[in-house]
């Protein structure tokens, strides 16, 4: 029992430290995003647009930020160009900021949950509402991430016409769909189920408390 209390106290302290760190990281990201938004020259550096090798139907494996990584067999190289999608750094910045916000909120909810456990009252409608919002928030950000990837995919397919770079590989698309859906959609679902458990617990507790 004493060990459990100690564990709870440690978890609460860890959560508090994580919360402070998340606040700092989110603030830094916000600062960088705002600076980038008002000073676009900070992000728009001149990057060469040359393709490292000239072969037909080079599949695109990974596109992130201003970089498109291509590979043939085991040889890989990167094409860097702001022309891929000029607004991509801003979109990435905004999404990273939103993701930081989600993480910050999750840590805050974890803090509330552990505080509830400390007070021997974990089930509450207040926590259910917080978990529900956390689930919704992460789902929205997840959908935005997937939408961004789809947008890049469509943009690359329709607009990028470097010599030898015409085809976006199916492996990239399927990997993106499965990977991102699992990564961004599973978390909101699990949190939503958790929120529902807490709602049921709170209702049950309320019922139990008022029947003598």
């Amino acid at each position: 029992m004493k060990g459990n209390r100690r564990l709870i106290n440690i978890a609460f302290a860890v959560c508090q430290v994580l919360f402070v760190l998340a606040v700092i990281i989110t603030t830094v990201k916000l600062g960088r995003f705002v600076a980038g938004l008002f000073l676009p020259e900070m992000l728009d550096k001149n990057i060469s647009c040359s393709v490292p090798f000239d072969l037909p139907n080079v599949p695109v494996n990974l596109i992130s930020g201003k970089v498109a990584q291509i590979s043939i067999n085991n040889i890989s190289a990167s094409i860097e160009s702001k022309e891929i999608l000029p607004s991509l750094p801003y979109i990435n910045g905004l999404l990273n900021l939103l993701w930081s916000g989600v993480i910050l909120y999750f840590i805050y909810v974890a803090k509330v949950l552990i505080a509830g456990v400390k007070e021997r009252n974990p089930f509450s409608m207040r926590l259910f509402v917080k978990l529900k919002y956390a689930s919704l928030f992460s789902l929205v950000v997840g959908v935005l991430f997937v939408a961004k990837s789809l947008m890049i995919f469509m943009f690359i397919e329709n607009n990028v016409d470097y010599p030898g770079l015409k085809e976006v590989s199916n492996a990239y698309l399927s990997g993106m769909v499965t990977g991102q859906v699992v990564r961004y959609m599973l978390l909101p679902l699990v949190v939503f189920i958790l929120a529902e458990i807490f709602r049921q617990g709170a209702l049950l507790k309320e019922e139990q408390e008022s029947i003598i």
């Binding site: 019922e207 008022s210 029947i211 003598i212």
Partner: protein, 70 residues
Amino acid sequence: MPIIITLDVMLAKRKMSLTKLSELIGLSIVNLSILKTEKAKGIRFATLEAICRELDCQPGDILEYKPDSE
């Protein structure tokens, strides 16, 4: 709520304190107090049975129905 708890009346009739009743039926004084002050949403048959047994009364002696006046 139209159901009124008249436990205090019955306790007075039997000259028994709430503490004594709570000891006899094995229910906490806090919960008995919640019941007495009509803050409870329900009462278990087991609780009702225990109260009736110790106070030697019928359920109707501690519960009363009074319709809400408009």
